[in-house]
Symmetry: C2
Subunit: 367 residues, 2 copies
Amino acid sequence: MKFNKVLKNLSTYEAGKPIELVVREYGINPKEVVKLASNENPYGTSPKVVTKIKSLVKNMYLYPDDSMFELKEALASKFELNSKNVIIGSGSDQILEFAIHAKCKKGSKVLMAKTTFAMYEIYAKQVDAQIVKTKSSQHNLKEFSKLYKKHGADIIFLCIPNNPLGECLDKDEVYEFLKTIDKNTLVVVDGAYQEYASFKDEKKKICPKELINTFPNAIYLGTFSKAYALGGMRVGYGFAQEEIISTFYKIRAPFNITTLSLAAAIEALKDEEFVQACIEKNFIEMKKYEEYCQNRGFEFIPSYTNFITILLKNFISKEVSQKLLEKGMIIRDLTGYGLNAIRVTIGTEEQNIKLFTLLDEVLEELK
Amino acid sequence: MKFNKVLKNLSTYEAGKPIELVVREYGINPKEVVKLASNENPYGTSPKVVTKIKSLVKNMYLYPDDSMFELKEALASKFELNSKNVIIGSGSDQILEFAIHAKCKKGSKVLMAKTTFAMYEIYAKQVDAQIVKTKSSQHNLKEFSKLYKKHGADIIFLCIPNNPLGECLDKDEVYEFLKTIDKNTLVVVDGAYQEYASFKDEKKKICPKELINTFPNAIYLGTFSKAYALGGMRVGYGFAQEEIISTFYKIRAPFNITTLSLAAAIEALKDEEFVQACIEKNFIEMKKYEEYCQNRGFEFIPSYTNFITILLKNFISKEVSQKLLEKGMIIRDLTGYGLNAIRVTIGTEEQNIKLFTLLDEVLEELK
């Protein structure tokens, strides 16, 4: 059967390996497997949210409120916006897809950092858009500017802080850059890890309201998958001027969020205390990773997120990751991103101790 | 901001009004609101599934197994297929979207019945495909054949049984039709309500394995939203030859099914007894609707689903629906489909009695 030609060149996203797979393939007891590969909140979902959702499980047979009235109101209220400025996606990923399908077609140009969230490129290729990337792995706005002057762009993706590297642009430099961008270029500010970055350093904090009011061509994306500890429920959100939101709504399929996911997100917004406590613990544990790296002589990228990227020199990241996997420790190898590096989610104290122990074992074995 | 031109002509799906909306807009006690508008299973989710999911709510922070290994194995096993023949969508809707994006672009042709599931047309318009429809509202394969000979088609959509009308083609006539279709035309057999149809009449039963082995250009779609009582969880599936499935996988975004949805679908497949009991009750209650219509002199379409379409003559369906809504009874007005008709989900005994009472009241008021 013939399919659209563009499909031939498509690649698919390589998800972090699930615990179930390691159990199946290596016969490891599920309780022994530790996953530090997908930047989930290692402290689990807020107990308040868990209790609430348990009481709603019986509603699984009912379609969700497709207007998402309550969640949109809650987000609008928290960020001092109007619900007309809000769109909800099945993860913020889905809003990336809306952006590409709204702005791009064959030959459109999409500008991004060399090493950034893989879905920007995957979605762009689905519509045969042309990908323009900086030479630097990390976000370098001078390079972005040069490339923008040379090629223009229908969409610019800024991942602030950046996944999978962890570095983070300052708000001020982002604003200076945005001033130079044509109003017809959509700028996607992906703030999936903003809660972490703004906790660590106020200079990194991007206020969605100020952003979209200053730059009506910008859209801010946030997610419930990371700090809000709902990675399995697939809820993300976008804030933008109504013109952009209403256009994206035309592309959204009905019922893109499950009944329980909507309720979980609404409830999670009510427990900010839990979120802040998790973030605080994240950076206490992050210090241990930095110390570990310094002690072992590994270079790492100072991180504004809940993961850390460690650059390997005398070891091959693919081998290190595989050896760890066989011991029941799942991390992310960055070979696919062109780096000899591993990305490790900052886990709980216990998980991190296990990672350090197993990594030492593996490095000894590979020496 | 400029967006892709194709978006200008897009319409969006009008979802059945949620209970929350009726509560908000008409100030009705949520316990008094009855929703017979979205063809949910009125008996609720299987208690076994509810119990299982309650025990898994704590896993909301974990991303789903993106390989969907266990659910694909369970479906493959039930339908005697290989898991390579299975794709899982966020509702079977999403697989419609994959089909359109895999096969169609500007000017592609998509053939369907005049009155059928709205998403076929909505997705087709997103890629600027040309819609070809029969003159008859209900599926008429002679008309399909004539139109196919005249225009050809990249995709043919057959909704068996048909939503929102409820009629159902016989398996034999579908097979006769499929024999005349070119192997490069994808035929989507949407079996969202097949469990109901095949219970009522063996002649309507389509076996996915036989279908895709006889017609490698066909894809069979099923859903957990109706008989399996998981409308809120957004899980549907497609069965086809590996060539089709692997192509659709290129379009699928990662993590399109939530962690709890995957688990719920797996569990629901284990409780077929519950599903069959619901279907049996559905047709006992359906008889009461048929009797009601006969007593009131209303024409209805004999239905092979869990809803019934009632054609109105001396009343305007939009007014009837609105009056019912104000009394806390949500049904579907089919004015948007060009029909002066209402579609009512077959509810529980209690819900149906309420519908009959309120409908009598409304008809009296509108006389």
